[in-house]
Symmetry: C2
């Protein structure tokens, strides 16, 4: 047994480090916990009424900081293969990948919906199945926020993808019939150009000099891939769930003559303030991590704590209460232990683990930009026509660039009046007017076949958002030939909430397959 003095040395500030030596653990844990710090140091008899709480979760974060500082731990690429995954419960494979994809590189600039531009860009993509002779069977699969192009295993990356059992021979998206393409979105961090990429203009990482992106910007880049790489003039279908469900509609909006069918699962036609609020909290938490350093962390310790917390909040919005009732109940991780402020209930350790898995996998800046693009998504007339104006301005500005570098003087980054918090919309605002604007905007999508699927237990993209898509399309006065189908999965079918598309494959897949394969 270690002498008492050696235990005293392990006490600093308000943290207790319990010796890992088995022989003295019992002694250490009872004796050290029994006294407040100063008592031992001062050797005074007055002790606190109760023992101090311990914080294993903070010890762990500090440990991680040390490992990141020393290089023992590295973001993404290194950690990728080391992290154990939750092996129980219905955990989807979110498909983190760093290899095995192809790259499409565009030397042409892309002008963006909010006035920025990328001089050149790369889109990482993977394919399954064969493009047919008349090039009419391309199905573009769009990802959610954090997923990569790795929707399914393929020879260059045999790990299961995030829709492994959804795509394949004879499966819901049948690779015997379709040539399936999935990309990593512009702004992402799995091979496509994003904030962690180098800006060809100055050879530095973009970081938060990356321009604000939109969902339409993402699909415009995908369209270049489709045309340039595969010489496809019209794709068979644009399919996606969550943010992918936004992209699938955006593709139809931007290029109505270049796509036959649209499938939007658990998506929306415009982001709702409640969803914006949920993503807002994630972004603010991440940006408040001092290691985020306003986006310039690439040669430092990354904001792993902020990312972990952001992912935990996101995970709460991806699922539903009833699922967790059945899965975790009110059980605590260790019933032999008194309650703690660190993760304690089973559901807390699950969230902690979900955050932990993710925090070094995904680039923090990519998360922010892609999350923001989701907030900005709006197929309404006003939003889309402003975006068009912005792109034109961006192009004009770009054309005007001489040898002396860029001129941003027209680019009003700073508001006309100083930044100010407001709490009410313009006086003339009504929900009805806003709906009319959406209806006007979506008239462009007339005569497209569209399948919309919603899930009742989804909190992040509630079903009334999918009903809205379907209703607006159905009431489109210009629609003559487009078939609009709407499916809703009730709580009797799925309690998986927003993640249903990753988990209830059969329920989502059947209508998708029928719709894709119908004439």
């Amino acid at each position: 047994m270690k002498p008492f003095s050696s235990l005293v040395n392990k006490i600093f500030s308000n943290k207790l480090v319990i010796s890992q030596s088995n022989s003295c653990r019992c002694f250490a844990s009872t004796r050290i916990q029994a006294s407040a710090t100063r008592v031992i140091v001062n050797d005074a008899p007055t002790t606190a009424s109760n023992p101090p709480l311990s914080f294993p979760c903070l010890d762990k974060l500090e440990q991680k900081n040390k490992q990141l500082s020393s290089g023992e731990l590295k973001p993404r690429s290194m950690v990728h293969n080391n992290i154990d995954r939750l092996e129980t419960g219905p955990e989807p494979n979110y498909g983190f990948v760093t290899t095995g994809f192809k790259r499409y590189h565009s030397k042409k600039p892309i002008f963006l919906d909010y006035g920025g531009h990328l001089k050149e860009y790369t889109i990482a993509y993977e394919t399954w199945g064969q493009l047919n002779r008349d090039k009419s069977n391309l199905v573009l699969v769009h990802t959610g926020l954090s997923a990569s192009s790795h929707a399914k295993s393929q020879p260059h990356n045999t790990k299961p993808g995030w829709w492994e059992n959804f795509i394949g021979q004879g499966k819901f998206i049948d690779t015997d019939k379709f040539f399936v393409v999935c990309t990593n979105v512009l702004g992402g961090c799995y091979g496509s150009t994003g904030p962690s990429s180098f800006d060809p203009a100055n050879n530095e990482r973009y970081a938060t000099r990356f321009p604000i992106l939109s969902i339409s910007d993402m699909v415009r880049a995908q369209r270049e891939l489709v045309k340039d790489e595969f010489q496809v003039e019209k794709i068979h279908a644009s399919v996606g769930a969550s943010m992918g469900g936004m992209q699938s509609l955006a593709y139809g909006w931007e290029f109505p003559d270049e796509v036959d069918k649209l499938i939007s699962i658990s998506g929306c036609a415009r982001s709702h303030p409640y969803s914006i609020a949920l993503r807002h909290t994630q972004r603010q938490v991440l940006m408040s991590d001092p290691n985020w350093n306003r986006g310039f962390y690439y040669d430092k310790i990354p904001p792993h704590v902020g990312m972990k917390l952001a992912r935990e909040i996101a995970t709460v919005t991806y699922r539903s209460g009833p699922e967790w009732e059945y899965r975790f109940g009110r059980f605590r991780a260790d019933e032999s232990r008194p309650p703690a402020l660190c993760p304690d209930f089973l559901v807390e350790t699950y969230l902690d683990h979900a955050g932990e898995k993710f925090c070094l996998e995904y680039d923090a800046n990519s998360w922010l930009y892609v999350s923001k693009a989701m907030d900005l998504f709006d197929l309404g007339e006003k939003s889309r026509s402003e975006a068009q104006q912005n792109r034109l301005q961006s192009e004009r500005r770009y054309s005007g660039i001489g040898k002396n570098g860029n001129d941003f003087s027209e680019f009003e980054v700073v508001p006309k009046k100083p930044y100010e918090e407001k709490s009410k919309p313009p006086k003339n605002y009504t929900v009805e007017e806003s709906l009319q604007d959406l209806k006007k905007g979506m008239r462009k999508m007339a005569n497209k076949d569209v399948l919309v699927i919603g899930v009742e237990s989804d909190i992040l993209f509630p079903v009334w958002q999918q009903r809205e898509i379907a209703n607006v399309l159905l009431e489109n006065p210009d629609n003559k030939t487009g078939k609009i189908e709407y499916f809703e999965l009730g709580t009797d079918i799925s309690n998986y909430g927003h993640d249903t598309f990753l988990l209830s494959l059969e329920d989502i897949g059947k209508p998708v397959k029928r719709f894709l394969e119908s004439q």
Copy 2:
């Protein structure tokens, strides 16, 4: 106009400080934003493709840190009167107070549900109306997580309280008929003993040496006040919403013979894993603020960033999507400004403001302990009998304390086996068994008149939790004389979500008044 070199001096790291001088603002904002940092410093012609984003929200936090460091800004007491409130929209008055309450001080120790104890403790309280001769008209009003005893204005504090128009002469809780008492909970920070209080055992602030609390601990302290201060043997009613709805039931559970009527609004009989998850994210965010310093921040900069973020997340759970659709829509705070990662949409500036208002008002440790007490709330048999055992052990331990200080050796703070994440409950767990445990536990509440009110748009305490309370009470085989009433406010009546009890006073108040005043 300032010379170019003076602007260069204002650029450091990746932050841009724009001169506040009106004469050069326009120049500064366009020129500085137009170039990436190094470019100017190196005087090289290569510039980034796009201007860097600005982060006014982070500038503000840094500014606040400085003000807190210099003492220009102080937590709670000083800030209390300086913060402007949201003056538009249906914002409840959460009733932050620091004065005007009375104090009940118990010299007797209180032994707690999870094994800790307080040698002495204080309960801050306020009263309205008169105690009648036979002392039969006391109505105990319980608060939610962050509210104080200041439910209503009174001569010693004339500011409006959080239930200002609910309590009063002729109002829903009628002070012509009832003697109304509201306390600040044990663990809180508005005058009652909590983590920011001084431990009489060592004259230091408890901080995270404060023992883990339960909702029942809170009501046991309240009962001492009722008996000791007012010599009331049986109260007329125990009334509360949210955490107060937990307390109102807990009072009935702990002292079934000392209360006539129970009213639980937007409460539950046990916390659900989804609610635990929502509070978990708030606690983890707060604890991850380096300024939290494991709870020992009282002589330092308080964790105002973590508190702000925690409150923002909480605020999202207090409301509903439809309310925000009507209130904020998709409007941005400043349409003249390009999209930003800092608060941008109106709903974001609202959340930002809500967090800002709160972050120096409420004690961070109180938030953690009271939030945790909510998670632990469970009127099931297993939880309640374990708590009883723990209190007995705590008392025994306390009695054994000699002159040599406390002995915590029996107090197993450290788990028997090392801390480990788990993702599944014990194999034999079923939701039905868990419900049986609750039914068993709540048999004690037979023959009480109970009014339960739920709100359909509530995300944090969903209606099925209130239905559960009512159903379990209705199916109680021991219940012979107790009247169980259940009211549910649909989305056609209120879209205010969990906060409905603070906002739709009429809808909540009518059944409350009738129930309180019925024979």
